[in-house]
Symmetry: C6
Subunit: 298 residues, 6 copies
């Protein structure tokens, strides 16, 4: 293939049938409720985005995804951008989860971005002119590859991607987003959870281009209701998964973490039908044994 | 014609009467409901846009358009921008559609843009400075021409055009959009489906200039309704087609894919009349035998 | 007059009384309903704007203005920017209108801008760097003058002006708009219909500066009403014309094209009075015999 | 005073007491309704702004201000920016007003800006590169001074100021606006009416900085009300004038032009009191004989 | 202190206890209603902002602050940016207030910024190229210092600050605002009233950074209410003052000027309690004799 | 670690378990109500943000945090950006709090940024050209380190961070915010309160990227309710703390300062359950003795 080419011809038949997702099935998200309504969780080898304004629970979601990996014996890489590793460990502890044994056992590898930001003025008093501080996404990918490639991690968490990506409305954001997803999926063979901090109004209205390239987008919200705020989770997009389109209330509690509050009304369907719709009674055939569960018969 | 000219005099009479659409009729969209309300589907040789925010079903729409081509024996070219070909095949399989035989038989040609984005930092550790990553739309058109010209495809799908087009509000977006449509329609003799990812609020309010140059625009939405989300399809624009102006609810299900939920109230008319409008009883004459079906007599 | 002057003293008395509009009266818009409520249609020699988002019916409006010219024996120039001439002809045919005889008879001159946009990459594979593609409005006016000056057209249609004008919010848009209108009205002696594609929300809120310089602005809209969309026409501005200020529902149908749905409530007045307003009974005198019809006596 | 100074010390006592407005009283606006609610019209020697979106009646307002000057025997200068002088004359005629005798008698001096814009490409085919077309406001003021200084006009109309001013949100708009008003008021001894075309949403929300420097702002609106549009006038600001703060409905009709529809509820007061407010019964003393009329005693 | 330092260590104890406000108490705002609800008016030596769209009464507020100074025998400096001094005098006269004796007696010093703007094109015909017209805020402060330092003014009014400050959303606006306030408060020992013209929507939503650095912000509004407009004053911020948080209706009338319409519901408290709140009956102790009055006992 | 590295491998086990928060527990916020609902106040060694528009009470919140430090015998550093130290002292006095003894005793160290802004034009008349006035955040951090490092402060207050940070929507704001938090937490061992002035609409909608990097965000609002304004506090985010998600009304009064108005409905839980939710009766186990209190048993 010519280096200048924009398009490339289709891969051979073998490549097509040998795709990762089909072979590896699904992995638990760490949130039982979410596993239930997605026929088992995230597709193996794919990338998912958890978005929301600060304080909506993205880091706790990440922790639960990490805990699920521990439960399944997976190695995991946790890239700390927003917090230091010790703060992640402390937050986990405040929820009743002890990560230290797993860190000691080499099950969790923390990669820390804090030094990149703190390696700053205070140390060298006589040198305080502004160096470029934009993170080069390619340099980030090289470092990630260097530390993670031989670790054979099954799960990768980046909390959050904001400091390593151009902003929502920058024209180069779409290209960088496509590069990030394709690079992670091609060179690291793991299921990835990215978090995204929404800084412009609610996450419902702010759409980062990366949402077009990941296999699923879960948006966490705080919805005002007469002076109080409900926690709500919305599956904006889930590739190759039969799932309802409603918003799901949840709570966050010690020990249990994120917990769905009630059984979803229309579990197991892409479209939440109206109650008096005749088609509700139709029994659908199982599509593929492994990946899409038998649909509910009512 | 002078190379500097902006305008060109009218083509001769033969060219005018020999237009593609009239000769070739319409092709199925792959969605029976849509074929029903558009007198047979898309106009041959024209370009259509399916727009919507991530997760509204644009890729599934594309797959159905592709499946319809298989059913009619057409050769199709599928340009993968958002996903890799193997992921497209997997999504199809999760819906119960097996594309692999058609790929093997040479009925579907996947053109993959992923390598353009992944051919990146991770490979060459010592070279990570940012090169320009904007896709040159003319280079894209050259590549498309190179791979597709001799394939005699009847259908072309580009999912999605965002990474090869300037953004909605860039001043050069309109010119690039005009170039894309005119180049495809003039050099590749196929009916084309373009998808467009809306990243700014709902697709209802974001209008990309390309909507002025394609022959039809179908907008997919998720409409909130007391915490639940309805899937809705809206035919914003359909050239040379008698069609109602209402929003259509639909569901996505394995095997059937996108399915219109109920019969449209005012099928077969450009304007949904009010019930007590006398003109509803007027019988309209057939306009042209092939392209506009007899209008309903009530 | 000094070339540097910004202002020029008033023209002599003869020029003032010899203005085109007074001598030539009005010409039919092609839409009976619109002719009825505007005392006969558009003012001769003036410029009008039809605006709306894609799919609201601007091209069909243009076609009807063209058909009205045919009916009155006028020569017309149709500048194709959004579509190719053959597509315009096909859309007309789908509505039951055959333009080909008139084209053959030299009654309609199509000027095509497509080649300007398609004269692109695909032809010369080895030359795909981006050339400037912005259309120079002065070059456009020179070409228009070259082809149209000796054709003695009575009607001019440009569908649409977007690609030849700076965008709504560019600071030079107002100056370019003033230039376009003044140049057409001064050098080509015809009544002109310009269409404008609204790309930012509904046309109701987006106001292009050209609206200040044309003699009339007609805005076409699709208004949502419980999941359905009504077609509505609004006369935002009509110079020297006594007209009501309400929105008018319309339908688009084969053969009849755009048709106003019901008689306007307050036809013939600039202000729609309230029913119990005493002044409704006042009989107004005819102002000038030819241009403003006798006002309704109730 | 040093040329570099930003501030200058107060003028002597004579200058302060000799201010134009006090000596010359008020002049009719041409709209009886408006004269009634402003104690006689505009302050002599001051500048007023009439703003509104295209089609709200700004040019007709300008014409009525011009007609009022004719009735009072004033010489007037009318600067045509949006239209040509012959179109202004024709619009007047369509309303039943014949301006030609006054033009012939030298009572009205039209200054035309059209040639500045039309002196363009079509004439010189071989020279179509874009020259700067931004109007230099200082050059405009020099030209205005050159033609108008010796004409001893009492009234000046500029319809509209948009093409000679930076846009609403440009940072230099405020400075240019201050310059325009101060230059006109200092060098030309006339009462001035400026019109301003609102291009961003309704004029209610778009505020051009010039509103801070003129002595009054009258905003014309079309207010939607169940599919119909009411014409409404709002006195956003009137310096040194006791006036109510309500919106006034009006109509436009031949012969009478702009006419207020009903007597204002709270004429003669800056604040529309609530009916049961005791202070309504207080009798206020006359402030100055000439400029503020006796306030209503209820 | 090093010239490069950003921070400086705390001042000595004497400086802290010797602060101006405590020694000088409060000065009347000129509006009795406002003095009543703020325990005596503005803090001596501090800076206050009156903001609002054009026509909301900022200049009349300024005049009343000036009149209050005259009543208390203060010398005042009035910086005219929006109007000429003679227009300020005339507006005062139209309200029944004669400023001329005080000007003659040297009690009021007008500093006029008009010449800076009018010193323009019309005078020198052969020199009309645009010079920079942005006002340098430091040059403004030097001039202000030059004219005002030896005048021993107790009150300073700048109507308005817009032309001497960067706009609301310019990044350097916050720094310039901090500089303006600190420079006035440090070098001129007077209580200062600044006005600010809101040009972007209502003042309620547009917040200029200077609001963070002044000791109080009073926003004037015109609030629409069924076609009529109420005048409303809102104390957005008042440092070191116990004041309620409600909006206050007011009227503007000759002689009395701005007058609060009714007694505030919750005078004397920072928070307007709900009627059935038990704490309403608690008697609070006086805090400091001079500055915070005894709170109401109910 | 290579200076070029973006990522760094996990710290050793000791570092992880030795994190500050766990060892030091929590410190009082100075607001009893807030301490009650957060299991004791702020986490030691962490950074918190108090945001709000001008006049919402951020400075009074800061003062109460300072007073709480005095009560606990802590040394505190107060960085004055918006006001001068003497104004802070005066505001405290107006609320009944005397800071001077503590300042004299060396318990409070004021660092003043005013000289940086006032060191301006007025002093040197012949030198008024604009020097760069943007505060270099690294220089700020060096100065802060220089004055504060040996003071062994337990509490740090910066009121406010706006003048030392890029604006909300500047692309480098996120990076600068990350640097500020990481530098303070790493080099100064204190609990930090930052205030942030919201200048774009209400603080509810404006989200500064720093909210992603601090351990808690408290937003203060003035909420309009029929012409009156309620003071409301909202805990948008609180790391490692079990807290309800409702808005809390509060009042500001002399002596008591900020006081929560009523007991929170759902104290002690991250999610405010609905009354008829069965899970309300479940008794949760204590998670860690020190940091998360026993949850309420109902």
């Amino acid at each position: 293939m010519n280096r200048e080419d924009v398009l490339e011809k289709q891969p051979g038949k073998d490549e097509l049938s040998g795709c990762r997702s089909e072979q590896n099935g699904r992995v638990s998200t760490g949130i039982k409720y979410l596993d239930d309504i997605t026929q088992g969780g995230f597709l193996c080898g794919r990338t998912y985005l958890v978005s929301g304004t600060p304080g909506t629970g993205k880091s706790i979601f990440s922790l639960q995804f990490l805990m699920a990996g521990l439960a399944e014996g997976d190695h995991s890489v946790y890239v700390c951008v927003n917090e230091r590793p010790e703060d992640v460990v402390f937050t986990a502890k405040s929820l009743g989860w002890d990560l230290e044994p797993a860190v000691s056992a080499g099950k969790i590898l923390f990669l820390d971005m804090s030094p990149f930001f703190s390696r700053s003025a205070v140390i060298n008093h006589n040198r305080y002119e502004r160096r470029g501080t934009d993170v080069n996404i390619r340099k980030f990918l090289i470092d990630l590859d260097k530390y993670a490639r031989n670790y054979s991690a099954k799960r990768l968490i980046i909390d959050s991607i904001n400091l390593i990506m151009p902003g929502t409305h920058e024209s180069r954001a779409a290209t960088a987003a496509r590069e990030l997803v394709i690079s992670i999926e091609q060179y690291l063979s793991c299921t990835t959870l990215l978090t995204f901090d929404c800084w412009k109004g609610s996450g419902k209205n702010e759409i980062h281009p990366i949402e077009s390239y990941v296999s699923g987008v879960i948006n966490l919200q705080l919805v005002e209701k007469s002076g109080c705020f409900d926690r709500v989770m919305w599956l904006k997009k889930v590739k190759a998964t039969v799932v309802g389109s409603e918003a799901h209330k949840f709570i966050i509690e010690p020990v249990d973490g994120i917990t769905g509050l009630r059984a979803p009304a229309a579990n197991g369907r892409l479209f939440a039908r109206e109650p008096n719709d005749d088609r509700n009674r139709i029994v659908r055939q199982e599509v593929t044994k492994e990946h899409t569960a038998v649909l509910v018969k009512e």
